[in-house]
Symmetry: C2
Subunit: 189 residues, 2 copies
DNA sequence: CGCGACGTTGATTTGCCTCAACGATTGTGG
DNA sequence: CCACAATCGTTGAGGCAAATCAACGTCGCG
């Protein structure tokens, strides 16, 4: 688990073993059962979470009472509600385990301390943020350009293994269509 | 112009006048006429641009040959194609002046140098990235939750002055609807 | 002045949603 | 270990939001 994290960090910055130890000491492992939450509606988000195993989803409940999934998070992804975390506002987004999941919690107060003690962590989280942003931009472009059928097809092609892991109605929500229509699309070539 | 930039930077980090001078020396002012471009289809993006006056749009041409606008940029915004810039890949996004526009160009090679000479710039650009990401997240949530009519209404309410500045067909593209339907929505209460 | 860029209008079509009902599977308490 | 209830996926009928297409009016600029 720690090896994964170390390797992941070293993809982006040089960090010594001692520095990593220090970094690691700021992280708290948490184990989540299916459907347990890391962040509830109305709470202010105070931490970021690095997923070491399992799967989380970040979603909200819209006016009609439907769940709308914004993201999934899987192994080696960070997940949090940045808007709530950085602006100190109550979250209407919910972070919940899709399956049994292990995360490392990094409290925002700890991170501010880390920025002081290991300045290069600032660079690390800048790069993570850049990459996260780019992924989101690509996704928006997809959603704009393609029909639901094409969005579905390309998502399945790009993530064949992941599609097996989540219930179909969650996939539908993430892709912005109804479960019924997703079912219809799968049927028809 | 420089005052705007200085004030803008000081919203996020403490920076001395001397440091700002150095920062400023890495920036090159560019003047764009309406319809001039900063980034063309197929080019690799090599810089970020801080807009001091005017308005830019970032868009691409989809399979059907339609322009799809991803963003606008106005005074005191940074604009670039992060995917092209950071991954060194050719851009299919185009950055073009909607009106006469002045920008300060920050080449990515210069920025890497700046990170070394003034480490706190790393923090600055981390924060900019975070804020940009949050804005995008909010936009996605909007697009998911609201009907076209509600999207249009809330955008006009939030940006009454901006709506006057761009042609209606660009607004339609940005909001993800056709110009005809936008026209229809404006007519009907 | 004339042409191109922009906005509008209406008729028609369609992609996707809604609603309701029904199987299949899973899981859980007795 | 079974029975029954959730949970999840599927199907089909009907409806609506928004796109498409085509035509026309208008303005501003070269």
């Amino acid at each position: 688990m720690d090896d994964n994290l170390l390797q992941y960090i070293r993809r982006y910055i040089d960090i010594s073993d001692a520095e990593f130890s220090l970094f690691r000491s700021y992280l708290t492992p948490l184990m989540l059962k299916k459907k347990e939450t890391l962040l509830k509606n109305g709470e202010v988000c105070r931490a970021r979470y690095f997923i070491t195993s399992g799967c989380l989803r970040l979603y909200y409940i819209d006016q009609k009472g439907n769940e709308q999934i914004m993201h999934f998070g899987i192994e080696n992804w960070w997940i949090t509600n940045y808007d709530s975390l950085l602006n100190n506002i109550p979250s209407h987004l919910i972070i919940e385990a899709v399956e049994k999941t292990q995360v490392l919690e990094l409290k925002e107060t700890s991170l501010q301390e880390l920025y002081q003690r290991i300045p290069k962590t600032e660079r690390f989280f800048r790069i993570i943020m850049e990459r996260t942003y780019i992924a989101t931009q690509r996704r928006i472009e997809f959603m704009y350009s393609l029909s639901s059928e094409e969005i579905l097809k390309s998502f399945i092609d790009a993530n064949p293994e992941f599609v097996q892991r989540v219930p179909q109605y969650m996939l539908a929500s993430y892709l912005g269509i109804t479960p019924e229509y997703l079912s219809f699309l799968r049927k028809n070539p």
